[in-house]
Subunit: 213 residues, 2 copies
């Protein structure tokens, strides 16, 4: 069992984008940031339910496969679930449709009380207000021996990193400069000292960087 | 003739460190940031005048060789020359001793008036207050057909990048998180659109990223 983070970040360090609007709640920056990841065969199949086997099959796809492998529970922030973009919608059920690509319990950190959502395909969204350590204890229990993924966004990921709770951090650095958003790396001086750091470049130009302890 | 920038940056984007003190004006962060670069055979020989041929000879060294190749003039900020660390010393002659590893004219951007310094080995330090474009015109003329390097620090490099004056930007990303300093990437959204971006990983773990147009 490992506690993992897998994120896409821009060269200038932004892991969460902030150009969403009511008409375009995800925003263009996000799609540019994740473009090489979304282009992989694994994400085309797992997230977009494409059955034609389209998509890239190189280094990026290998990391996309690892993203989905061996995860038994996830923790995410309210923003990643979509509560910031849809603050007044008690019926909001996440970005991913009725059958989200998780298939396991997902713990959404929020101060607002919401009822648990049972989705198709084994995903259950639980909403709770908890410290990183307390949320992690719940998720570890729910994961039944599999990995726990801290899904994001940037602020939640950084809180778990700062608290020393993360065994493996993988970032895919997309070589673009967004100039705006929420940075992953703020206030993490010296993080590397507890980890072995490896880097690998994909055909797309994405630099895959892994901190592992 | 190309206008070039070659910098070491941390994973969190800091190209200039700010932990210098009167007793340790360069500071420990700087030495950690440039450690893989300083470890190369080329830098050991060119900057530290070692004659024993020590140092690394892999990917980092290839970039170090390129750092020194074909440059005919340099532009640097007052901080890089050391004027911020030595503000009240009219005799300050730079960090590099009496025979600096340039061998060509160096234009130091500063609002304080200082006399030109003729050093050993062909280096001349000129001090001037000028816009990036005006300083560059002087440097191009002085370089006599060779490249002009914008040496740094982060603020000066960013000004030249923002002004669209740079043909090639190489950064060696050292996989450490400094958490403090001056960032290279601030306010450069979309910079990549005018360039071809390539990445390469060195044996040291440094990621070499090149923007070229």
């Amino acid at each position: 069992m490992a506690v993992r983070i897998d994120l896409n970040i821009s060269l200038d360090g932004f892991a969460t984008t902030t150009d969403g609007t009511p008409d375009d709640p995800i925003g263009k920056d996000w799609w540019r940031l994740v473009a090489p990841y979304v282009a992989t065969r694994t994400v085309r199949a797992r997230v977009f339910q494409e059955t034609e086997g389209r998509g890239t099959t190189g280094v990026d796809d290998r990391y996309a496969q690892e993203y989905f492998a061996e995860v038994g529970a996830e923790i995410m922030g309210a923003g990643m679930f979509g509560l910031h973009a849809h603050p007044n919608d008690p019926e909001w059920r996440g970005w991913w449709g009725e059958e989200p690509p998780f298939g396991f319990p997902v713990f959404v950190l929020t101060h607002s009380e919401r009822s648990t959502l049972e989705m198709k395909g084994g995903t259950t969204f639980h909403f709770l207000s908890a410290t990183p350590a307390d949320a992690l204890a719940l998720a570890i229990d729910a994961a039944q021996g599999k990995d726990v993924r801290v899904g994001g966004g940037a602020t939640v990921a950084r809180e778990f990193l700062k608290a020393g709770l993360v065994d493996r951090l993988h970032v895919g650095i997309t070589p673009i400069l967004l100039g705006r958003g929420i940075r992953l790396w703020d206030d993490l001086r010296g993080l590397e000292s507890g980890y072995t750091v490896t880097t690998e470049t994909a055909e797309s130009g994405v630099v895959h960087l892994t901190f592992e302890r």
